[in-house]
Amino acid sequence: MVEPLISARNIKKHFDVGEGMLKAVDGISFDIYPGETFGLVGESGCGKSTAGRTIMRLYEPTDGELFFNNENIYTLPRREMQHVRKNFQMIFQDPYASLNPRMTVEDIIAEPLDIHQMYKNKEERNQRVLELLRLVGLGEEHVMRFPHEFSGGQRQRIGIARALALNPKFIICDEPISALDVSIQAQVVNLLKDLQNKLGLTYLFIAHDLSMVRYISDRVGVMYLGHMMELADSEELYLNPIHPYTKALLSAIPIPNPEIQRGRHRIMLEGDVPSPINPPEGCRFVDRCSYAVDKCKQVTPKLEKIKEKHLVACHRAKEMIK
């Protein structure tokens, strides 16, 4: 049995927003194994980005444990945390906002190296920057340029090079392609897959584009209002979704083929996602679920194994399979 690289246990992140507690992430647990891509999907406001940032400890967790190589990093003091964080990197959504417009590409990519003093002399620093640029498909001619001279796809490549600077084991990709055009999205996704094979990286891939997540991920977790609703191998999840929310979510994605798309049955969800501020006990999806029973309102369902490698948080999951 392979040891997981990352084990999240009951992670919570609550924000005090004055009118109550906003429970952005409310007790999620999962493992990520070395070399795999774990996809985290959900609609806006479901807490997927907060989950990513809490795992990185960019947000201090409200509760829970995060084991990295069997060490709970939430208990580490600041100095040690900085050391461990070399193994954790992040690629952000907006390639326009996540690069400092006043820094050259060289300085942007070398910043992590500077902070962790990873080189002996200037020569070594230059070498490493060049090496990283080539790795992401850019070249020497780009070193002294500024971010505004690049297109969105190229900027995302710079962001990826920066994330790779410290030879991390684990990279959180927070919607890395949603700001890009479709033809460019494929370039970046292919690059991420290439790098994973070359460098043995492990990804947490956060996105709302479910077709892209299915394409890139080995396993996928579906979040709704701070809870994990379903977790399974990517193929299994898309072929046999069990949770009513996953089913609705998948049926809502239009397939780019008119013959198939027009014949599909769409599960239409009524209403909107409820507020995450002081949510009541019970299943978070209960108000919009057509299968809800009384129990769903009273008891929050736990994420449980329903089939081999397929976890669902639904009281009626067993019935749903049939």
Partner: protein, 336 residues
């Protein structure tokens, strides 16, 4: 079919500090009655400029029309005065924008924003207008409209705001609705609701839709015909089935291959299109897709081909359609 809108050889440029940007370079298409036409392309291809030019919402200067005609119900919109355009805007042609968060006025109650248009265009008094506003919100399925008209935009979710935007566009039962990326800012489940709503309204109100989007899934779901734009030009257009089943232009083919599909195997590689679209400060003389096309020939670099007919409804402009293309390819050994 009766044509509601005909765009003929439209050319639009922007004057900027660095020179002239040729955003739209001679495009022609039409929209029939009750028809949905999707304009598809990447950012910067000129699809939004085209949409805004129909409504004449482009700031002039820097924008200016270099040529062409926009014929709506038999009249050229480019000959209209601003006053005449105001009669048409929001009355006969309406528009729904991408971002429901910024296109509503945050300091005005929802009801008032709807009423404003009714009083101006329909000359209703405020009582009648309010009644109509409630009716409109009911039409777009906003719950409790009597209560909701007194609320501000920030009290609405993204999906609800887009419903309000659609209600605003519908107040005067337009002949033509231009929807510029109407669901791009929304979640998929909300997108499904809004698309369904637009379809229902179309049948109910007998209207034509121009749908501007980059999401091929939405296109497959909604449109009757598709126009593929690239670098300010149309490369291919045809019935939705023709475009998806039998794409003729390499760009269309690559675009379709670059998106992962739920009904396809995961193990198939995703076909990225290398490079980026050309700079429109100095648009290429030949085919704009030349630099990124794996099937390009020598001739593509210097000359833009004309449209060829593949059927009554399906046209594309690519040298590969030329009877000599096979030969040229074998002589030059593929890419020039």
């Amino acid at each position: 079919m009766e044509k509601v809108l005909e765009v003929k050889n439209l050319q639009i440029s922007f004057k900027t500090f660095f020179g002239e940007v040729e955003a739209v370079r001679g495009i022609s298409f039409d929209v029939g009655k009750r028809e949905t036409v999707a304009i598809v392309g990447e950012s910067g291809c000129g699809k939004s400029v085209t949409a805004n030019s129909i409504m004449q919402l482009l700031p002039m200067p820097p924008a200016f029309f270099k040529g062409g005609e926009i014929i709506f119900n038999g009249e050229n919109l480019l000959d209209k005065t601003e006053k005449e355009m105001q009669e048409i805007r929001g009355n006969k042609i309406s528009m729904v924008f991408q971002d429901p968060m910024t296109s509503l006025n945050p300091t005005m109650r929802i009801g008032k924003q709807i009423v404003e248009g009714l009083i101006k265009h329909k000359k209703l008094n405020s009582k009648e207008a309010e009644k109509k506003a409630i009716e409109m919100l009911e039409l777009v399925a906003v719950p409790q409209p009597e209560k909701r008209i007194h609320q501000y935009p920030h009290e609405f979710s993204g999906g609800m705001r887009q419903r309000v935007m659609i209600a605003l566009a519908m107040v005067s039962t337009p002949n033509l609705l231009i929807a510029d990326e109407p669901t791009t800012a929304l979640d998929v489940t909300v997108q499904a609701q809004i698309l369904e709503l637009m379809k229902n309204l179309q049948t109910k109100l007998d209207m034509s839709i121009i749908l501007i989007t980059h999401d091929l899934g939405v296109v497959a779901d909604m449109s009757d015909r598709v126009v593929i734009m690239y670098a300010g030009q149309i490369l291919e257009q045809g019935l939705t089935e023709e475009i998806f089943k039998n794409p003729k232009h390499p760009y269309t083919r690559k675009l379709l291959a670059s998106v992962p599909r739920l009904d396809m195997s995961r193990n198939k590689p995703l076909h990225a299109i290398d490079g980026t679209p050309p700079d429109l400060y100095a648009p290429p003389k030949g085919c704009p897709f030349y630099d990124r096309c794996s099937e390009a020939m020598k001739v593509c670099k210097s000359y833009m081909p004309n449209f060829d007919n593949h059927s009554n409804t399906h046209i594309s402009r690519c040298w590969l359609n030329h009877p000599m293309a096979q030969e040229a390819n074998s002589v030059e050994g593929g890419r020039a």
